[in-house]
Every structure is written in C-alpha cells, then in structure tokens.
Amino acid sequence: MRERRLVVRVVKRAALYLAALGITLLAVFPFYWMFVTAFKEDNDLYVGATVRTHIPWIFNEPPTLEHFHYLLRETAYLAWVRNTAVVGAAVVAITLLLAVPAGYALARLTGRWGERLGIAIFLTYLVPPTLLFIPFSRVVAVLGLQNSLWALVLVYPTFTIPFCTWLLMGFFRSIPRDIEEQAMIDGYSRLGAMRKVVLPLAISGLLTAAFFSFTLVMQDFVYALTFISSVGKMTVSLGIPVALFRDVFNWGAMMAAALITSVPIAIVYNLFIDRFIAGLTAGAVKG
C-alpha cells in the first residue's frame, strides 16, 4: 500500500516536471532557433529540409560571427539602435514628466471623481494603434512630420502616459499616507512632501514606469511602419524585419539582429513583470 502511494507520487512528480519542460520548450524554441541561425555558416543554414542527413537543430559546421560582422558593417542596424534609444529616451522623459504628477494626484488629491478619471485614462490604453494610425497619418502630414522621428516622439506618449499614470497611481497608493502627513506637520508643503519624501520612496515605481515606457516604444511596429519610410530613420522593430529583408538569403543576419535586440530587453523584463501585472489586475485582485 505504501509502495503504491510512493509510485503514484513519483509518477505525479515526473508528470509535473515533464509538463513544465514541455511548456518551457514551447516558449523558448523560437529563441533557440534565432540563436542557432545567428551563429551558423550560410552553408550550414541553407540545406533544404528534405535532406535528412543534415540535422538543422545543431551546428554541423563550427559557429561563426560572420552574420554579426555583416550586420554591424553593412547594414543600418546601429542607426536603428540609436534611433530607438533617442526616441525611447524622449518618450520616457515626456511620460514621467506628465504621468508622475498625474498618478500622484489620482492617488492622493482627487477623491472619487479622480478614481473615475483614472479608469477613463486607463481605458484609452485600450484604444489600439491600428484604430488610430490612419487619422494620425493625416495629423502627422498636417504637422509636416512625415518620415521624422519627432512623429514617433509625439505619438508614443499617447499609450505610455495612460499606462504609466495607472501604474504610478497604484504605486503612490501603496505608500502610507502617514509618512507624508508627518512631513507636512513638520512644515513641508504638499508639493514639498511629494518631492522630498514620497518620490524617493517611489524610485522603484519610477524605474518601472520608465522601463515599461521604453519597452512599449520598442515593441511598436504599426506607427513606425506608417510614419517612417527611409531606412536610416527606422527603429529596431521596424528596420530588422522590413529593411533587412531585401535579400532572401539573409536569415543569419536577421536572426542575429533579433537575438541581440530582444534578449537584453527580455532579461530586464523579468525584473519588472510583477509590477506590470499588479497594475493591470488592480481592481480584479483585491489587495
């Protein structure tokens, strides 16, 4: 009897590990494929899948940095990275400048109507780029910003501000009121207390907001595709799929670019994901 129970337990454990492994492999497989492709010789890459003796999963020839060299020397990849960084930095600055006061106001100063307004602002996050890119193309044309990075700097805050306001509102709410009330009793004004007492405590919240603004900028494809037409002005998520695809046999360089662009961001993402989820589910999960 005891032995049977043991067997059942072992089988259950094994099933758990197997299921965990399966789901992880599903998630990771395209990244593995990016990795293998990025470091393979062209000879090793372009062997038709009908050839059964050639195993595409492994390096049949020694790995090479050839695709990375090509990417850095012959393509506009570094310009795309620079453009993404410039637009990202500008958008993060605008977002924090506007969303920090707004998030604080919604958390502390405005009562019930503020809560409603907070929800309304968050709902605008649901209005997707695909609904707005056509009217925006006209707005951008009127402003004379076609094919300019400024168009992106102008438009991206429309989704980073709602998102970060909501995120920061939750963050400010989690800081005990007593702390700033105490500071105000000690003679600070409301703004002084916010600046000197609350903001230092909210540093991790500000970092989270900055990081997510940046990743949202990096993830955008629709607006970049609509506004930017010259290769030198593209961002990474537009340039890599659109401008590297001139030559059919360019998969090595394309996967190399995708790999070195996405892996750093994916790793940092893990540090922040819990706050992101807490922001999205606020209201659905009672704290």
């Binding site: 758990l16 590990y17 789901i23 992880t24 998630a27 990244f31 494929w33 990016m34 890459l45 899948a49 009908t50 059964r52 195993i55 506007l98 006061p101 106001a105 502390r108 100063l109 405005t110 307004l117 929800i119 602002i121 968050f122 780029p129 695909t130 609904l131 056509i134 009217p135 925006f136 193309s137 006209r138 707005v139 009127v142 429309t158 501000i161 007593d178 105490q182 409301r190 703004l191 494809f221 629709v222 537009l238 890599i240 799929p241 998969w251 394309m254 996967m255 995708a258 662009t261 996405s262 994916a266 993402y269 994901i273 989820i277 807490a278 589910t281 209201g283 659905a284 009672k286 704290g287």
Partner: protein, 314 residues
C-alpha cells in the same frame, strides 16, 4: 505597534477640523493642476485622432492631399459588398477566438504547474516570459524563418521522426497560413495570461483552498468549482487584454503572410493598412479599421463594470 502610539500622542494637539477643511480646498485645486497636463495630452492626441478616425471614414480623403470631402456612407456600402472585407472580418474573428481559447487552456495548465513547488521554477517562469517580452515584429520574423517553405525545421523534424512524410507549405496554403498565424498569437499571448492567472491564484486565501483539500475535493473539482470561479475577474482581465491585443494586431499578419496567399489571411488592421496607407485611400482604410471599435467598446464596458464591482465590494 510602537509607531502608532507616538503618532496618536501628537495628533490630538493639531486642530484637525480647521486645517483639514482649508487644506482640502487647496488640495482639490492642486490635484487638478497636477492632473491637467497628462489629461490634456491624452485628450488631444487620442481624442482628436479618434474623432478624426470616424470623420475620415465618411470622407473621400486620400493621402497626398489634405482635401476633405464628405461622401457619406459610400465606403461602408462598398466594403460591406466586398467579399474580401467579409473574409477579413471572418479571419479577425477566427484568429481572435481560436487563439484565446488555446491561450486560456495553455495558461491554466502553465499556471497550475508554476503554482506547484519544484526545482527550477524561477528559471521556468523567466523563460516562459520571453515570448511576451520580445518585440512582436522580431518574434514574427523568427517564426517566418521557422515556417520557411524550403528550410522549415518543423517539416524536417516531422520527417525525421517519421510522423509526416509529405511536404507542408506553411505559408503557401490559406488554411495552413491561418494555422501559422494562430500559433504565433498563442505563443505570444499565453505567457502573459499565465502570469496574470498566477497573480490571481496567489491572491486566493490559502484557507479556502486548504478547506477544499481537507473536504476531499479532487483536482478537477478544485479547479472548476473552487479556483476558476474565484479567479473569474482575473481570467476576464487576461481574456480581455488577449482579445484586444490579438484582434488589433497588425505585425503578425503583415510580416508573416502580407495577407496572402491570395489575400486569404488578411485581418481588419492589415487590410486597413493596405487600402488606407499603401493604397492611399484614407477614407476606406478608416472605415475598415472602425470595425474594430465594437470589440473595444465591449472590452471597455466589461472593465468598467469590474472596476465598479471592486469599488462597491472594496
């Protein structure tokens, strides 16, 4: 408990009623002041384009000129009579529903796995999030290479394992291309849904679940009669965002199939882009994109109702 004592000792010394009343007046004004810039940005740059999106769909506007002439319902009449548009509407619906059903099944499984304690759990969670964190357009290119017509690693593996000897033209056949698009959406969205579900699960009080175990409820009973009902609000959030992100996505279809083969895999957003931006017919593009609106209104209403319930319950 040491701190509140000190605070209590000080608090009565302040004339509470008087200061709070005057402070509240100024605070409301300050609140409005702090909120105004963000609210203004959003109202101007989301509100105006939103209204413009509706106006454009009734106009003969074309890119290249800034002219704006009213054509009434012409675009709507034209697209409703257009078989390509009806196919596109159907595709959007299929992609969204099919991928969300699969996402919820996978995510429930993954969340239940991640809830159990095992070695390497942190690593699994971290790897699981990769698909969600990576920019969609880059992930789509990786998949485009995986589904390549000559070099598809899936085809090679199926043959090597002796599962399927024929040749699969993933992106050359309408049905297979649709399957490929659904696979990418599922792959991308399920990690996100998993993490949301997991957050909800850890918020369920332990006593409730322990009680169910002690009362002898089986795994399935616990899943369907205890956990999922308690998780309903969180599941709704996960599905809602899944539906919004999937139904409005442009990059997967645009980069993987360009709407092909034979325009069979277009979705509303890719058709709107093709007609509105590439074809230059802004009015018709806007009219096509506007069909995404019902989904969003529905999502917004659901979220609002949930927010109100949380307000009342909390």
């Amino acid at each position: 408990m040491a701190l509140p004592k000190g605070v209590q000792a000080v608090a009565p010394a302040v004339p509470a009623v008087f200061t709070r009343a005057t402070l509240a007046d100024r605070e409301a004004a300050l609140g409005r002041l702090l909120l105004a810039p963000a609210a203004l940005y959003v109202v101007v740059l989301v509100g105006i384009p939103f209204v413009l999106a509706i106006l454009l769909s009734f106009s003969g506007a074309r890119s290249g000129s800034l002219a704006f002439d009213w054509v009434g319902l012409r675009h709507f009449r034209a697209i409703i009579a257009d078989p390509q548009f009806l196919l596109t509407l159907r595709n959007t619906l299929i992609f969204t529903v099919a991928s969300q059903v699969l996402v919820m099944i996978l995510a429930t499984t993954a969340a239940n796995i991640l809830e159990a304690a095992f070695v390497g759990k942190r690593a699994v969670r971290m790897l699981l999030l990769l698909p969600w964190a990576v920019p969609v357009s880059l992930a789509t290119m990786a998949w485009a290479w995986i589904f390549d017509s000559t070099f598809s690693v899936i085809n090679w593996t199926l043959r090597a394992l002796g599962i399927f000897q024929g040749w699969i033209y993933w992106l050359g056949d309408p049905e297979l291309a649709m399957l490929a698009i659904i696979i990418i959406h599922v792959w991308r969205m399920f990690p996100f849904a998993t993490v949301i579900l997991l957050a909800g699960m850890t918020a369920i009080p332990l006593e409730i679940r322990e009680a169910a175990v002690i009362d002898g409820a089986s795994f399935w009973r616990r899943l369907f009669q205890v956990n999922l009902p308690l998780l309903l609000p969180v599941v709704t959030v996960a599905v809602l965002f899944g539906v919004v992100f999937t139904s409005t996505d442009l990059s997967v279809v645009y980069l993987l199939t360009r709407g092909g083969p034979y325009n069979s895999t277009h979705v509303l957003s890719s058709l709107a882009f093709q007609r509105g931006i590439l074809g230059g017919d802004l009015g018709e593009g806007a009219a096509i994109a506007l069909f995404l609106l019902p989904v969003l209104v529905f999502a917004a209403i659901l979220l609002l109702r949930m927010a109100r319930r949380a307000e009342v319950g909390g």
